[in-house]
């Protein structure tokens, strides 16, 4: 009936008064009104308040093409443009609620299983931390804003834990892996915050509270013993998947990461593969030991993935800090020798400068430490080519002590000291005389 009515109405609308006819008709009526004016008694009657045009709706014909265009543009605006613009919003921006309550929630619903939900909540938590860092760098992380961020971090953390618990009922191994991933993320993000220059107590710039919350979360997540139950088979399978993913990620960041960064990541991936192979090839090894090695490999690979996918992590931490390289014996030797030389040089500087110190409290600290360092260097000398790990420990300790002493007093540089035979003798680099070989080549590995 609607179509019949529309057709009939449309045809009938061709019947209308011409403008001239309407004007003439109106003038005739107005003339009639003027000739028959309202009496005073009628004029005093109040005019009804109801409107002359009483129809509740007026039909306004809008061309369908305009309607389609309008609908299309509106849909594009609300589904694409605004969410895209909202992605870069931070707390305080107008579109921030769109980002958190609409876009991210929509993406939550796209996760089909608990593991993906955990991954997504972890990502959301990383986003909140990243936003907090941006605010802190701008000096806008006020008490109120920080409280909001902490609350959001807690919400996402709780949701991740809920999903892990939900996953545990159907896939215990998956839940354990998710738990480890979550804990690793908390650890990495805490490290990022602590490395930031804005990690101070200055109002608007401090992320100390946030880092503390993350630390607490990491402690709780990493102390969960259920992660120990993940089977070797499952660990190996997931490690293979993550390793493949890592190589793909590495090729994807070839434009944004420096050559050195890419080399360092490639080195760590090779180390991890070697570690995994070593752990699984040793058939006599204890199963729990193997699991522990594989769990460590899982944690390391998650840190590498975080390094490659999160530019905040890449800008704040070195890959060496996140995942220290596994040095070969030759690399350890070269590194130990380098550190030995440095510790030794520093020790000589301290020895010759010590008599110049007048402050008794400093003298009291330095005097007993000098022989300790000497002993450690002697241990390093004797074990350098016999037990490199022992030599490395001794050298690291010696270097830590000399650097600590150097902070107590402004010792003059060695170059200013007269070079005597004693100095020349004590600065000699130890040579491997066990097999008649010369000093190993210097390591190119960067150190902290």
């Amino acid at each position: 009936m609607k179509r019949f009515s529309e057709q009939l109405k449309k045809k009938s609308e061709t019947i209308r008064l011409r403008a001239s006819e309407k004007a003439e008709l109106q003038s005739r009526i107005v003339a009639f009104m003027e000739y028959h004016p309202l009496p005073a008694t009628v004029k005093s009657v109040p005019v009804p308040k109801s409107k002359v045009v009483l129809e509740p709706y007026r039909l306004i014909a809008i061309p369908r093409a305009y309607v389609r265009s309008f609908v299309g543009v509106t849909a594009l605006l609300f589904i694409v443009v605004i969410p895209t613009m909202a992605e870069s919003a931070i707390p305080g921006d107008i579109l921030y609620p769109v980002k958190v309550n609409f876009t991210e929630e929509i993406r939550s619903t796209l996760s089909t299983n608990s593991y993906e939900k955990v991954v997504w909540e972890t990502t959301r938590l990383e986003r909140r931390i990243s936003e907090a860092r941006l605010l802190a760098q701008a000096g806008k992380l006020t008490g109120a804003t920080e409280a909001e961020v902490l609350a959001a971090v807690q919400v996402h953390s709780d949701k991740a834990k809920q999903q892990i618990e939900s996953l545990r009922t159907t896939d215990a191994d998956g839940a354990a892996l998710a738990q480890m991933t979550f804990a690793t993320m908390l650890d990495v993000q805490s490290s990022v915050l602590k490395s930031d220059d804005s990690a101070s107590t200055t109002e608007g710039k401090s992320t100390v509270a946030l880092a503390s919350v993350l630390d607490a979360g990491y402690t709780e997540a990493s102390s969960d013993s259920s992660v120990d139950a993940v089977s070797v088979v499952r660990l190996l399978a997931q490690l293979e998947v993550e390793t493949t993913r890592s190589y793909e990620l590495l090729s994807s960041i070839s434009d944004s990461a420096t050559e050195q960064e890419q080399t360092d990541v490639r080195r760590r991936l090779a180390d991890l593969e070697s570690k995994i192979k070593t752990a699984t090839d040793d058939t006599s090894a204890d199963t729990e030991l193997v699991k522990k090695e594989l769990r460590n490999a899982w944690t390391d690979i998650q840190k590498l993935i975080s390094y490659m996918t999160d530019i905040d992590v890449r800008n704040s931490l070195t890959v060496e800090k996140l995942v220290p390289a596994v040095l070969s014996d030759a690399e350890k030797l070269a590194q130990s020798i380098q550190k030995y030389e440095l510790a030794n040089t520093q020790l000589q500087r301290i020895k010759f400068g010590a008599p110049l110190i007048t402050e008794q409290d400093i003298v009291a600290k330095i005097e007993p430490t000098i022989p300790k360092v000497a002993d450690l260097l002697t241990i390093a000398t004797t074990s350098m080519y016999v037990n490199i790990d022992e030599a490395k420990v001794a050298v690291d300790e010696a270097l830590a002590l000399t650097e600590s002493m150097l902070t107590l007093y402004q010792f003059p540089e060695l170059v200013e000291m007269p070079r005597t035979d004693e100095v020349a003798a004590t600065t000699t680099i130890p040579v491997d005389d066990t097999e008649g070989s010369t000093t190993a080549s210097t390591s190119t590995e960067t150190t902290e």
């Binding site: 009939l8 109106q26 004029k43």
Partner: protein, 194 residues
């Protein structure tokens, strides 16, 4: 335009309300009249008479709350008067010939009307609606052109809603028959022409 009472053309006076009604409804009233009597000049006169009658009504102290139905009622009465002048067959005579009691179709409803209207082409109906007896033409125009509901039409023509529904239904049936008949004739003529 002169303002005979110097009350201003703005809203708030009886004159302004009346003229607003003219601006709003004059075209629709003219359309209704034209489709009923098929005489343009006469239709304009009928619209003029409608408004002057209504003005007289207001001048006599009556208050018009809702101009639209009132204007249609006055116009309808004028059209009926015009028919009587033209000595067209009355509705009663029409029904006496057909032997139909309009009150005996309680089962007719809006949905029945809808179903019937859906089978009719509105464009062809427009061309043939003038051939309908005025009793049916009147209600069909009021219903499908003026957009009045059965209740409003019943108040205008002073018949019950059921009677109005019957007339609409019958009017649509006759319209459809005339359209089909016209189509058959055209086909026959086409075939003869070959």
């Amino acid at each position: 335009m002169k303002d005979p009472d110097n009350t201003g053309a703005q809203g708030g006076s009886h004159e302004s309300r009346f003229l607003e009604a003219f601006t709003e409804y004059s075209d629709a009233l003219f359309r209704h009249a034209s489709m009923r009597i098929s005489d343009r000049e006469k239709s304009i006169d009928l619209v003029h008479d409608t408004f002057t009658k209504v003005w007289t009504y207001v001048r006599n102290g009556h208050v018009v709350e809702n101009y639209r139905p009132f204007l249609y009622k006055v116009l309808n009465n004028l059209i009926i008067d015009e028919y009587r002048k033209q000595k067209e067959a009355s509705l009663d005579a029409l029904f006496e010939r057909d032997g139909v009691d309009e009150g005996s179709f309680p089962e007719l409803s809006e949905s029945t009307v809808e179903a019937l209207a859906a089978t009719i082409d509105g464009k062809q109906a427009f061309d043939l609606i003038a051939l309908l007896p005025d009793a049916y033409r009147e209600v069909l125009i009021m219903r499908f052109v003026d957009g009045l509901g059965p209740r409003e039409i019943s108040e205008l023509v002073e018949e019950s809603e059921n009677v109005i529904s019957v007339r609409i239904h019958r009017g649509l049936k006759i319209l459809r028959d005339k359209i089909e008949s016209s189509a058959r004739n055209m086909e026959e003529n086409r075939l003869k022409g070959k």
